[in-house]
Symmetry: C2
């Protein structure tokens, strides 16, 4: 079966989002990142900024703080409700048309689809630190600490919802170091590999 | 700087060794797996079979059993002495000529070399189970359990000597799923990527 879904999970600051976008353009696939957030916002009635903040991470002291600070939806916490909504949306989008989906545990949600190719993008800490400050415009006096905190949040969120380890090679078909190949080079390698596997009819 | 060393770490039963051999042949690089073991055996005076057994794993109840069961070398346990020997040999071999090195924490030992490309090969548990029984000829009534035990040993050994997590994508430049690409296909992808980075003059 040929590939019609590519999930791109990524370390913060690895350039994974830009890489995913190049891959999507190259194959003429839909690209879901902010668009996915907007869809989720539309469906849940949450503000986009709220979803962006909570959609990939649980509150730091979740276990203790949730009962007092979060609303519940059919007995679910805000975060769990949002996860369940995002999950449904990802499953629907994957059915609709060939696409590249960035993050949001999409590798796990779509793990059983034979037509999905799961990629993880990582990079050297010093390159990630440079990218978040000079390209993403993150204001921080200690970029390495910011990265460590972000990694911790993603790891926690991923483990909670998937019972797997974030960034473990086994979760993905390919994991690749964007520090070594560069943004364009990494995208090229992912495109080469997807082509090798065969890409669905949306292939331009 | 172009690539003159490729390390291939692999899950047991992923076919990583065969893949590494194809890559080595393709570039005309030296191939170190059993050859490395033989070199280590020669230098340490240990039997090859002993090194094969202990070179990638520490004893199961190492902490308690070692003081009573292992000999020591200059105050080092057998395992630590063997590690130190293997480390020196890997560093020497890497200096000598372009090569592909399989396992033995070579990714960690050579992590700071700019001319090294670090690969991890993994595969689906069911494919690994099938391979160890039908190709490697491992005698086991429960191949999944055998795999889990082997993974645990490698993880423990790797963590002990490197303070890193075995199989974490971050340790390698590329991690690749041989179940998806097949043995030849995975080797082809590694060759393509190495060529993209530039391969040293031993390139045929």
């Amino acid at each position: 079966m040929s590939i019609r879904i590519i999930t791109v999970s990524r370390e913060f600051g690895s350039g994974g989002r830009s890489i995913a976008e190049i891959v999507a353009k190259s194959f003429g696939f839909e690209f879901y990142d902010k668009a996915l957030i907007a869809k989720a916002a539309e469906r849940t009635g949450f503000a986009e900024s709220f979803i962006k903040e909570h959609g990939e991470q649980r509150s730091p002291n979740n276990f203790f703080s949730l009962p007092f600070t979060s609303s519940t939806f059919n007995g679910m916490s805000t975060e769990d409700y949002l996860w369940s909504m995002q999950r449904s949306i990802i499953l629907e989008l994957a059915d609709e048309s060939p696409c590249v989906i960035v993050g949001r545990c999409s590798d796990y949600i779509l793990r059983n689809r034979k037509d999905a190719f799961h990629v993880f993008v990582h990079a050297k800490p010093e390159d990630r630190a440079d990218r978040i400050v000079n390209q993403y415009g993150v204001h921080t006096t200690n970029p390495m600490k910011t990265l460590a905190e972000e990694d911790k949040k993603r790891r926690k969120n991923y483990r909670y919802y998937t019972d797997r380890e974030w960034g473990a090679a086994d979760n993905y078909n390919v994991s690749i170091d964007s520090s070594l190949f560069g943004i364009e080079g990494t995208a090229d390698m992912i495109i080469t590999m997807a082509k090798e596997l065969g890409v669905s009819s949306a292939d331009k």
